[in-house]
Symmetry: C2
Subunit: 149 residues, 2 copies
DNA sequence: TTAAGTGCAAAAGCTTTGCGGGTAG
DNA sequence: CTACCCGCAAAGCTTTTGCACTTAA
């Protein structure tokens, strides 16, 4: 993410914390900054590893807990994918995904027509929809080559 | 899933196994049948529990392994969702999802406009897209009530 | 007969919880 | 001062692996 966008997100983080009376700790700030710097829809463990380069000895627990907090505050989201690990997405605005159904890779894409999709009425299901996302599912290059080889 | 559709899928299962020289075992057949009977996008463990009512003492390992096999054969798929557990989807044809970002519930929906989406060229990413799916992300009724309460 | 599947036990990987001590506001 | 956060250790899930035995074809 570019520097300006990162800066804006950090400011958003500070004002939300002030609003809610949540302490701003070094750990939280660095975990957010680090997550914003990674574009692979990383797992909590991958984020922990990256954060540890700046805060030696930071605990996994703190990273797991903080990521959940950041999601709750709306500063990051969870990525939808077929695998069995939670993965985080630094993008909170409307966007879409290429998803590899073999290795679970997730790649961001943009598409105006996807953005403009009309959202049907879902009140019959009791759902309140806040967001939509198109997933193009298939195989990434690496997995396709393994398949053929 | 209705009986006719289930029957068709089981026949498909048999012919694919014959084609590839894979043995048709009782376990595999019952695991497939059971998965086709569940509409909650169940986890492997939930499927194991349901299968165990018909095959007492069936091992978790077998269920985990067989589900992966069935996915590879194209008889079921994995559901994309934000949580940290693998979940299976009995539907293999084009369809879409409501996803609760709090509790991870996944509900099937149909929408012709979603079906008809034009798929952009993704060759630049090396992906081969075989399928697409729209996810309407939000909160389910239960989670919304908890939120407010 | 033979390639493949099954079950068990154990290991590995991911995530949460309880609690004592520390820190931002 | 007080509420909330952090780190540790331990527990709890979920999933995979190696191996000996069994079974479909």
């Amino acid at each position: 993410m570019d520097e300006a966008a990162t800066q804006r997100r950090l400011e958003q983080f500070e004002s939300i914390c002030h609003e809610r009376g949540l302490p701003i700790t070094v750990q939280r700030r660095v975990i957010l900054e680090t997550t914003l710097s990674l574009d692979n829809h990383p797992t909590a463990d991958q984020i922990h590893e990256a954060v540890a380069e700046r805060i030696a000895g930071i605990s996994r627990t703190t990273v797991y807990r903080t990521l959940e907090t950041l999601v709750r505050l709306g500063l990051i989201t969870k990525a939808c994918h077929p695998g069995g690990v939670t993965r985080y997405d630094r993008r909170i605005e409307l966007h879409h995904h290429l998803v590899c159904m073999r290795c679970d890779a997730v790649v961001d894409i943009s598409d105006d027509r996807f953005d403009a999709l009309p959202i049907p009425d879902t009140s019959a299901y009791g759902f309140e929809v806040s967001d939509h996302q198109v997933q193009l599912r298939g195989l990434c290059k690496t997995c396709r080559e393994k398949e053929e080889g």
